[in-house]
Every structure is written in structure tokens, then in C-alpha cells.
Assembly symmetry: C2
Homo-oligomer: 187 residues x 2
């Protein structure tokens, strides 16, 4: 478990064993079961999560009670309701397990302490944040330029494993179409 996190960080910013031990001391190791909530809409967001194994969904519930998948968080992903996390406000989204999931979590004060005390980690978080920003922008581009059908094909190409792990209903909710429409798409 620890090794996975170390390798993950090392890919961007190589750390010595001592440095990694220091990093690790800021994290909590947690296991959740399918359908457990890590974050509940309307409540405080204490932690940011690194997914070791399992699968999470970040969901936004609209006024009509309909759920929308803002993001899937797979192995090696970092996820939270970042807006609520960084501003210490109530969650606008929920983070829930699709599968049993193992994470490392870090509270905001530890996140900041770690960033300050080990500049390499601030660099790491900066690069991760940039990548997250870029990923979101690519999703926006796919909404702007592609039909539901094309978005579906892009998703399958990019994350072929999702196909086996989540229901079509959830995929539809991620793509922004009704489950009936998704069911009628080609391929």
C-alpha cells in the first residue's frame, strides 16, 4: 500500500526513503466499503483522498434530486470536493464508493504543513493540480465539440476498464445523457 503511494509520487518527484516516511506520517490509511460515503453533500470536507485501490464517484445532486457524476476516481487518483476542502466550507458534492476502496487521506492542515515543510511535495501537489485542471478542460472541450455518441466512444477509449466496473446508468450520468439515450448509442 505504502509502496503504491511512493511510486506514484516518485513518478513526478523522486523522494528519498526518509522523505517518504515523513510524507506518509501526514496521511491516514483508511478502508471503505461499497456505497460508503467519504464526503456527504452539505457536510464538512476534512480530507483529500488518494485512491490506492477501488473506485469512487464524485456526484453532484441537482435541485430535482437527480445525481450527476462529476468524476470517477480510480486507482492513483486524487479526489475531494476541492472547493469545500480548500475553503473549509460545506460540501456541494458527495464522494461515494462504487467498489470497496482503500485510500490515503490527508487533512487540510497536514496538506499545508507538508507543503511548507517539504517543498518537493508542494511541487508535487502543484503538478497534480495542473494535471487535474487540464483534465477538466479536456472534458469541457469534449462537451463543446462532441455528440453524446462521440463522448461515449472517447470515454471507452480512454478508460476501457470503466466499462466493466460501472453500470451504464452511471456512465450515462457522467456523459450527461439519459440512460435510455446511452442505451441507443452505437458500438
Amino acid at each position: 500500500m505504502k509502496e503504491k503511494l511512493k511510486e506514484h509520487i516518485d513518478k513526478l518527484i523522486p523522494l528519498t526513503d526518509d522523505e517518504f516516511a515523513f510524507v506518509l506520517s501526514h496521511f491516514k490509511f483508511e478502508k471503505y466499503h461499497k456505497n460508503d460515503f467519504l464526503i456527504q453533500q452539505g457536510e464538512d470536507v476534512d480530507d483529500c483522498y488518494y485512491v490506492v485501490t477501488g473506485l469512487l464517484k464524485l456526484i453532484y445532486m441537482d435541485q430535482g434530486g437527480k445525481q450527476h457524476i462529476v468524476s470517477f476516481a480510480m486507482e492513483d487518483w486524487w479526489e475531494s470536493d476541492f472547493s469545500a476542502y480548500f475553503t473549509q466550507s460545506k460540501a456541494k458534492m458527495s464522494l461515494q464508493c462504487i467498489e470497496n476502496t482503500v485510500v490515503f487521506s490527508i487533512g487540510l492542515s497536514d496538506y499545508q504543513k507538508l507543503s511548507t515543510e517539504l517543498p518537493k511535495m508542494e511541487r508535487f501537489f502543484l503538478q497534480k493540480s495542473n494535471l487535474g485542471h487540464i483534465a477538466s478542460q479536456n472534458r469541457i472541450i469534449s462537451f463543446l465539440t462532441s455528440s453524446a455518441n462521440e463522448r461515449y466512444e472517447q470515454l471507452l477509449k480512454q478508460y476501457p476498464t470503466l466499462f466493466q466496473r460501472v453500470s451504464k446508468t452511471l456512465l450515462a450520468s457522467y456523459l450527461g445523457v439519459s440512460r435510455e439515450t446511452l442505451s441507443r448509442l452505437s458500438s
Copy 2:
């Protein structure tokens, strides 16, 4: 001009005058005219831009030659094709002036040097990147949960000044609808 940048950074991370002078030495000061390109799709992306005054559009052109507005960059915004910038690859998007625009620009090596030599700035860039990520996610949520009509109203509420500064055609391209459809929306 310099004062605007300093105030902007100070809002998140207060700097001494000496520190700011050091920061500023990494930036270039540039003026562009309406319709000028700061970044051209397919070419190298040398810089990231802070908009002092003016207005930019970040556009993605699809296979059919249709332009899509990924983002407007107004006063105090940071913009670039971040993917191409950070990975030193060719631009997938163009950045073009809607109005005459004044910017501070910074090359990647200066960005990295500055981040390393002045940790406060790495902290600043991290916070900015987080905010950018959050903004993109909110835009995704509005695609998932809202009709074209609602997205239009949200945009007007959030950036009422845009309304006077850009053509309806561009607004439509930002919202992901045809200009004819936008023209038929209420309000």
C-alpha cells in the same frame, strides 16, 4: 501595471517589495492588439499569461473548422494552453485577443525557477491552479445539470460585463449552442 500584479498576488500571498521585484524580473510585459494571437494552435507555447487589462479567448478548433470557446480570460486571469505549456508540446488551442490586451508573461523555465527560488510563489501558483481546477469543474457541473437556457443565465449572473464585451456568437460558442439557438433563449 506592476501594482496590479502585486495586488493580485498579495491577495493570496503577501510579498515584500523586494520579493515582488524579484518576481517581476521573471516576467515580460507585453501589449497586444485586438485579434492578435498569443498562442496559435499547432505551434509552441512558450508563455503563460497574466491579463492586466483587456480580454482574451481560448479557442479550440474542431476537425470541421468550427471554433469553440474553452475560456474567456479577463482582467486578473491567468491563461495559456497549460497542457502544451507544461509538457512543452504543440498547442491544441489558440489564445486570441478579443480586445486590446496588456499582459505579463512568463516562460516555463522562469516559472519553474521562480517557484523553486521563492516558495511563496510556488504556493501562489498552487492556489491559482486549484482555483482553476475548481472553476473548470463548476463549468462541467453546469453542462451536466443545466439546459442551454440556464447556462446562459448563470453566465450572465456570474460575469455580467461579458455581455457588453463579446458578441452573442462568441457567447453561444462558450455555452456550447448554436448562435441561432442562443438568439431564441428567453430573458
